[in-house]
């Protein structure tokens, strides 16, 4: 395995040698003034798991999109060695060629058709659109074998729209496996899985790797990278910063390479919880197409505490968040805020009562993409005299205010009047966070606040949430990232099957067992 050594490995013109199964050479891609990928080399050996690390915008996704033919590189080439040992250069900018070379990709943003069933989604693009009943039966049988082997279980006849984000992720992986990928790219596959599920996923992928599958694995979770990969490659600002065998890596070393400095872990002193800020009493919601059921959920968020809710996607967290956001009125149970009973909680009422909401789906619920950054910053407080006078918007004041927050929160954008759709995911999250914190809320609902953010941005979000707590806010942190819940929470609740239970334990195994229904009752 000569290519483990850093530096330019197997050069061009050595087709006969059993080199890497995939060799990318000098991959360069420029978007306007931004050099998204700067002459990156990447090698992947057969039966190897290569972890690709880097901050948001480091060039990981750009590199993978070039591999997949979705971007045409400005320079560089992709060589693939087929099973018989012949090397061929993939034609650039052709996704069909990548698929024909059996490169599979599990995207960070799902590519599933919501109105089709799981089975249809998996068959979509691999089978003719009007496949016979017999071929569907065959496909079904093959999928059942695959699910058994990989441990990724799903019911094939449910429509995608009825599945949670976590469940959809599993379908994506299953889809790639069904297509017999030789090279599999996993873009943050475990962002929404429990530790047990993640472990079983890694177990399944490991099994496939032993049989010859090669994997490129993109993740922000260093713990996973260290446990799962064989080799680590780090990108920063579109450049390859270096690579190392995983056996020689540790967290400090990787983070230094990624951000160029020692990553200061989140410093969390215990909070000093005081009076109850938000109390839910036996709140129940019947199950429907749109939401998961809740069964007599009771919880109390105190001032100056972070209450973490761990759990796998699709166990009622979204429903709970909708109730606290004011989007959904529970069928039964009561809600009280600051000691007084709130009969009907609407989004406007929630805002008046000082509940800041960081929504799970920042694109759908968090921003109006076609409106400007400034407009999205003030959208929750249109009644405030700082924003309007007698119904007329105070445009100058709004712009000044937005500029101030753009500065204070380091929101990277062309300016307050830029369309919000132009911002990256991380910067949209900063915008939402700025909007929420700026109102000095007494209660903060943070639903998956760091999903998809890089180490530095996620750390920033965490620090700001802790600062808000220290200021006296009660924070309800809903996250599928158990590490995050453990790191931030003063108390931990676990949601499973629409029920909620408190745990004193900080043991990953104990909480993980509760998340999968081991001991909640």
């Amino acid at each position: 395995m000569t290519s483990l050594a850093p530096g330019p490995p197997v050069g061009p013109g050595t087709p006969a040698m059993p080199g890497p199964i995939l060799a990318m050479r000098g991959m360069t891609k420029r978007f306007g003034p931004l050099l998204a990928a700067d002459s990156i080399d990447l090698d992947l050996n057969q039966g190897e798991v290569l972890a690709l690390l880097g901050e948001n915008g480091a060039g990981k996704t750009t590199l993978m999109n070039m591999l997949f033919g979705e971007y045409t590189p400005d320079a560089g080439e992709v060589r693939i060695r087929d099973p018989s040992g012949n090397e061929e250069v993939l034609p650039p900018g052709q996704p069909q060629a990548a698929i024909a070379a059996r490169i599979g990709m599990v995207h960070q943003h799902f590519t599933l058709a919501e109105n089709l069933t799981v089975l249809d989604n998996i068959l979509l693009g691999t089978e003719p659109p009007f496949s016979s009943r017999r071929s569907r039966r065959r496909a079904r049988a093959r999928l059942h074998r695959l699910m058994e082997a990989s441990g990724l279980n799903a019911s094939l006849d449910v429509r995608i729209r009825e599945l949670s984000v976590g469940e959809r992720q599993r379908i994506e992986i299953l889809k790639a496996l069904y297509r017999e990928a030789r090279i599999l790219v996993l873009d943050e596959p475990t962002a929404v899985l429990t530790p047990q599920e993640a472990d079983s996923l890694f177990g399944a992928v490991r099994e496939l790797v032993r049989e010859g599958l090669s994997v490129i694995f993109i993740s922000h979770k260093l713990r996973e990278v260290l446990a799962f990969s064989d080799r680590i490659m780090v990108l920063r600002h579109g450049r390859r910063m270096g690579e190392m065998p995983t056996s020689e890596a540790d967290v400090g070393k990787i983070v230094r390479m990624m951000v160029g400095e020692e990553h200061a872990g989140v410093d969390r002193s215990p909070g000093e919880p005081s009076a109850p800020a938000l109390v839910l009493e036996k709140v129940s919601v019947p199950s429907s197409r749109a939401q998961r059921a809740l069964f007599e959920v009771s919880l109390t968020i105190h001032e100056a505490e972070i209450l973490g809710i761990a759990g796998v996607a699709g166990n009622g967290q979204s429903t709970l968040a909708q109730i606290i956001s004011g989007l959904l009125q529970p069928g039964e149970g009561s809600i009280s805020i600051g000691g007084k009973n709130v009969r009907r909680l609407t989004p406007a009422r929630a805002l008046r009562e000082g509940i800041g909401r960081i929504p799970e789906d920042r694109y759908q619920d968090g921003i109006v993409a076609d409106m400007s950054v400034a407009e999205n910053i003030v959208i929750e407080r249109l009644d405030s005299p700082e924003i309007q006078r007698r119904g007329i918007l105070r445009r100058a004041a709004i712009a000044t205010h937005a500029e101030f927050l753009i500065d204070a929160h380091d929101i990277r954008c062309p300016g307050p009047h830029a369309r919000t759709a132009l911002l990256s995911g991380g910067n949209i999250q900063k915008l939402i966070l700025a909007r929420v914190l700026e109102a000095q809320p007494g209660i903060i609902l943070a639903n998956q606040p760091t999903r998809g953010l890089d180490v530095r941005a996620a750390g920033e979000v965490s620090r700001r949430l802790i600062a808000a707590r220290d200021r006296g806010a009660g924070v309800l942190l809903i996250s599928e990232d158990l590490d995050e819940v453990l790191a931030l929470s003063d108390r931990i609740l676990v949601m499973q099957g629409g029920r909620i239970a408190e745990t004193k334990s900080r043991d990953r195994a104990v909480i993980g067992a509760m998340m999968t229904g081991g001991s909640v009752g």
Binding site: Q96, A348, D365, G391
Partner: protein
């Protein structure tokens, strides 16, 4: 979309439409260049033709605004035609002798009556949508036919002019309630200026007020607007009222400014043409003025062309439809880049 494309696309689309329309024109047996020259002369040739074009544009500005305002909030008001007739009916109700006064009182009164009637006409579909989720495309569209039959009933009954020789038409609007002419001996009336003013008001309201902010937010992303505490239903109701009122004003303007009395053929489809105008304008209220002028020019010009060249005046509909298609295609090209390439070898 880049800012220049907002101007360039409609212009190019209009030219492309004229180019494409030359084909059926040639089939109709007319020499193309003289035909178009006649068309241009029919629009700009004289004070008469120019004012006729502006007169024709007037109801289109109102119905175009009605569609543009509603569509900005993703509320699909297809009922402009019906609201126009309701506005006209209200105008003749209060403007034909129910009360009388000086023009300074009567003109605002008929305008207000027409606006209220138009708004009420759209309130039904809006409430059905916000209460029960009924599709406003269906309800507002079908209401057009009901309203037209209702107007016919009124014109045969209580609103029928006893001096009208038995024709189903209303009594004439009082002089005090009529919109004054703008140019001596021409048909162009004050409704045109009111339309222009309405467009600027609509632009200012959408861009500079909280109400407009809410309407745009609901239109662009209703889910996020709701999450942000904006009353989505209330906003939609408000938008429906504003949109219906604009369409109602179109009816007032036609009755009190142009015809002087109401008949059931008052509008040759201004309500529907307003949708085309709004789309050509990219849903911008200021753009509605330009789009109305364009559509009116095509209609007036094609009329003149058909008289002079002996070709069917349906060519006007053809050119307008062609422009809309070109406009939509243009918008598509502004957003996406088409790449042609061969399929890869298997």
């Amino acid at each position: 979309m880049r800012p220049w494309s907002a101007i360039l696309i409609p212009v190019v689309a209009g030219l492309a439409a004229l180019l494409l329309s030359a084909i059926p024109l040639a089939f109709a047996g007319a020499p193309i260049l003289p035909a178009y020259a006649q068309m241009v002369a029919g629009v700009f040739g004289s004070v008469f033709t120019a004012t006729e074009t502006l007169t024709r544009a007037t109801p289109l500005i109102f119905t175009g605004l009605a569609a543009a305002i509603a569509f900005r909030a993703r509320f699909w008001n297809i009922g402009g035609e019906g609201q126009l007739y309701l506005g006209a009916l209200a105008a003749v109700w209060v403007g034909t002798g129910m009360i009388d006064g000086p023009p300074i009182l009567m003109i605002p009164l008929v305008l207000a009556a027409g606006a209220v009637a138009g708004a009420v006409g759209l309130l039904g579909p809006a409430l059905l949508k916000t209460r029960f989720g009924a599709d406003e495309v269906v309800t507002s569209l079908l209401l057009n036919f009901i309203i037209l039959i209702f107007v016919q009933m009124m014109l045969e009954g209580p609103f029928k002019d006893p001096m009208g020789l038995g024709w189903p038409q209303s009594e004439p609007i009082l002089d005090s309630a009529a919109l004054p002419a703008l140019v001596d001996r021409m048909r162009l009336h004050a409704g045109f200026l009111i339309g222009i003013a309405a467009a600027f008001v609509a632009h200012a309201v959408l861009a500079y007020t909280v109400w407009g902010f809410r309407a745009r937010a609901v239109g662009d992303n209703a889910t996020a607007a709701r999450h942000a505490g904006i009353g989505v239903r209330r906003t939609i109701l408000g938008v429906a009222i504003a949109s219906g009122a604009c369409a109602g004003l179109a009816g007032v303007s036609e009755v009190a400014g142009l015809k002087g009395y109401l008949t059931s053929d008052l509008s040759p489809g201004f309500g529907y043409a307003g949708i085309v105008v709004a789309m050509l304008a990219g849903l911008s209220p200021i753009g509605v003025i330009a789009a109305s002028l364009f559509v009116a020019s095509v209609f007036v010009g094609a009329d003149s062309m058909s008289r002079a060249m002996g070709v069917s005046s349906f060519l006007a509909d053809l050119i307008v439809s062609m422009s809309l298609i070109c406009m939509l295609v243009g918008g598509f090209f502004a957003r996406f880049r088409l790449r042609l390439r061969a399929a890869p070898a298997p």
